[in-house]
């Protein structure tokens, strides 16, 4: 029943978000039906665009899993952006300095990006556990530290011609592989898709089938009860944010050496914030996260096409996502509605 309720809540939030988008399109004198048809066609029209949607969803799945994992332990990390940057920086640094066969290279890159993200997540986790530093503030601060680290490190050590971006990632260090690119007719899709799916499965197993997952969830439900039951709460908090950071770092690798061909400086990746939407809409479950990131993937990869065809600003996509989060946050409205409907049905029977 809980799954059904989550689905109902998520769908209600999505529908209201799309409706709000329609109102906005009307407000600027555009035709919403036309707008939405181009938005979805832009994300799904042909095999290349589907590939791009999947590539966008790849990073969102990983950062969304990162958020969901922290949420399950009752921690609200906003640090996915910074962890992505650190993971991406590690991946870029290795991609531009080592020369190894592709598979060894990719293994090292993925592990390094996970480690970099994990460190960036473990710091706020440790500070929360040991000193009670609020994780929302510390993760935001670390986002900016990561931002400036990339801002100064990339031009100093990894730049090519332009000051504002790293040199191009060589093919042997990129997650893009020819056969996948060919199937999807030259889209941005890359091996990250399998990494993301694998991560979703691993996280599902960890959360539902292991002692670690049980302890983490127990801390999330009620940390005092968990402590009373003999669970080491500080250890679990630090561990949870560390794992969350590792996932976001992996997301950074799939973006900076998969989707993109180099690392731009001066950008705090928006996937970090969208990840909150993904986790919320997916009710913090790995399956839900995958589905939600596919949906947001469509919105993100379709908005450019919609803009080109109708002149509606592409920010409508971000606005819809933001409004969906707001409605997902106020889901108590829908929960009441759902319970009301259920009670009504029962009375009829």
């Amino acid at each position: 029943m809980k799954g059904l309720k989550d689905l109902f809540t998520a769908l209600a939030a999505v529908i209201l978000g799309l409706l709000a988008g329609a109102v906005l399109m009307l407000a600027i004198g555009a035709n919403p039906l036309e707008g939405f048809s181009y938005l979805f066609r832009g994300g799904l029209m042909n095999i290349e665009r589907i590939g791009n949607t999947l590539a966008t969803a790849t990073t969102l799945t990983l950062t969304g899993l990162a958020m969901a994992f922290a949420f399950r332990t009752g921690l609200f990390s906003i640090g996915a952006s910074g962890q992505m940057l650190m993971g991406g920086l590690a991946a870029t640094a290795i991609g531009l300095s080592l020369q190894l066969p592709k598979w060894e290279m990719l293994t090292i890159i993925l592990i390094a990006s996970m480690l970099a993200g994990a460190i960036w997540g473990f710091i706020p986790g440790y500070l929360k556990a040991r000193f009670n530093v609020h994780e929302v503030v510390s993760t935001i601060m670390l986002n900016w530290v990561a931002y400036w680290t990339v801002y100064y490190t990339v031009p100093a050590y990894f730049k090519a011609k332009l000051e504002t971006e790293s040199a191009r990632i060589p093919d042997f260090a990129s997650l893009k592989v020819p056969w996948l690119t060919e199937i999807f007719k030259g889209s941005f899709i890359n091996l990250g898709v399998f990494v993301a799916l694998g991560a979703a499965i691993v996280i599902a197993i960890v959360l539902n089938r292991t002692v670690l997952g049980y302890e983490l969830k127990a801390v999330g439900f009620n940390r005092h009860a968990a402590e009373f039951a003999g669970i080491n709460v500080p250890k679990n908090m630090a561990l949870s944010l560390g794992i969350s950071g590792a996932l976001a770092g992996l997301g950074g690798a799939t973006y900076y050496v998969g989707y993109a061909v180099n690392m731009q400086i001066g950008v705090l990746p928006s996937q970090g914030m969208d990840a909150i939407a993904v986790a919320l809409l997916g009710a913090n479950s790995p399956t839900g996260v995958v589905l939600a990131s596919l949906f947001f993937g469509v919105l993100h990869s379709g908005k450019g096409f919609m803009n080109a065809m109708t002149g509606i600003p592409p920010e409508i996509g971000d606005t819809i996502i933001a409004i969906i989060i707001y409605f997902a946050a106020t889901s108590v409205l829908f929960t009441r509605l759902f319970d009301g409907l259920k009670a009504k049905l029962r009375r009829k029977q």
Partner: protein, 315 residues
């Protein structure tokens, strides 16, 4: 050395003022028991509305348009914060999630609107406030060059609001009640205070101040809306914690951030500072915030019910 300090002081103060406004907004919201992560977004709203009003009305009203823009920025922040109040107080939503949603809606919606208006997504104003030297006071040695030269009108406005905030929070019935709702809402309820109404008031005041803060950024040092206030809202939130939820503490913390950020920004042109690596300078305020939180979080004086949902049926 003296030249450097007296040279960057006015800029540091100009940078501090919006931070102070937003942090005072957070002060009202959190003393009432509602965490407002949405400060950043509310500042963006204020920044946008102020830019639109001024760019439209400046030819007709001149300087009057700037004041009108600031007033409208505060009004827009107040209206927008109703969304946060409704979600987190009436619907018992998670306050952090609701605030995050506010941030995302604000930055996406304003750029969306700006793009339909100007095409580029930026709104520029031709003239903001012009810095002026305070007569007589600026002639005082040492203090004059530091505090009374090249000041903006918004600086004096915000300092007045700071004093007013202190008075309202500690010397009026309203302030006492608001603080009660942030410390122990059930006791406040039992004493006959309408907790929901007080918390709404706290959040709406925070919205107005954050909106004003966004406007102040525009009319002093930025001059352009571009869809972001570069994390100042989050920094204000950190300053609130750093300043231990007290007006003078907040003033000190925001000035510290303002000074550190200005020092980092002007580092290239000041020889004494330019030897320090840019990364160290830029990351300094954020790292210090974390360190400060490490030292202060154990003995923190956060409002006891800060961030907790108030449900009258739960005891």
């Amino acid at each position: 050395m003296w030249d450097i300090i007296s040279g960057i002081f006015p800029y540091a103060i100009a940078y501090t003022i919006p931070l102070l406004a937003a942090a005072l907004g957070g002060f009202f919201s959190e003393r009432g028991g509602v965490v407002n992560i949405g400060l950043e977004g509310l500042m963006v709203i204020g920044n946008f509305v102020c830019a639109v009003v001024i760019s439209r009305l400046q030819p007709k009203l001149g300087t009057g348009a700037i004041w009108l823009g600031l007033a409208m920025a505060a009004a827009a922040g107040l209206v927008f914060s109703v969304l946060h109040a409704f979600a987190s107080i009436s619907l018992c939503a998670n306050q952090v999630i609701s605030g995050t949603a506010i941030n995302m809606v604000a930055s996406a919606l304003t750029v969306f609107l700006a793009r339909t208006m100007t095409g580029s997504g930026n709104v520029r104003i031709t003239l903001g406030f012009i810095p002026f030297d305070v007569p007589l006071l600026s002639a005082i040695p040492i203090l004059g060059p530091l505090f009374f030269t090249k000041t903006y009108a918004t600086t004096w406005l915000m300092l007045a609001i700071l004093a007013l905030s202190w008075f309202v929070m500690y010397k009026t019935r309203f302030g006492l009640r608001l603080r009660a709702c942030g410390e122990h809402p059930h006791a406040a309820d039992a004493a006959g205070i309408n907790v929901y109404r007080m918390r709404y008031a706290g959040v709406l005041i925070s919205g107005a101040l954050a909106g004003l803060s966004g406007g102040a950024i525009l009319v002093t040092f930025s001059g352009e809306f571009n869809g972001t206030v570069a994390g100042l809202g989050f920094l204000a939130l950190a300053a609130l914690i750093f300043g231990n939820w007290k007006p003078l503490g907040i003033l000190g913390a925001t000035f510290f951030f303002g000074f550190a950020a200005t020092l980092a920004n002007v580092s290239q042109v000041v020889p004494a500072v330019s030897k320090i690596p840019g990364l160290v300078l830029k990351a300094f305020p954020y790292v210090v915030t974390i360190l400060a939180l490490v030292f202060f979080s154990k003995t923190t004086q956060a409002p006891k019910a800060d961030g907790e949902i108030y449900d009258a049926g739960k005891r």
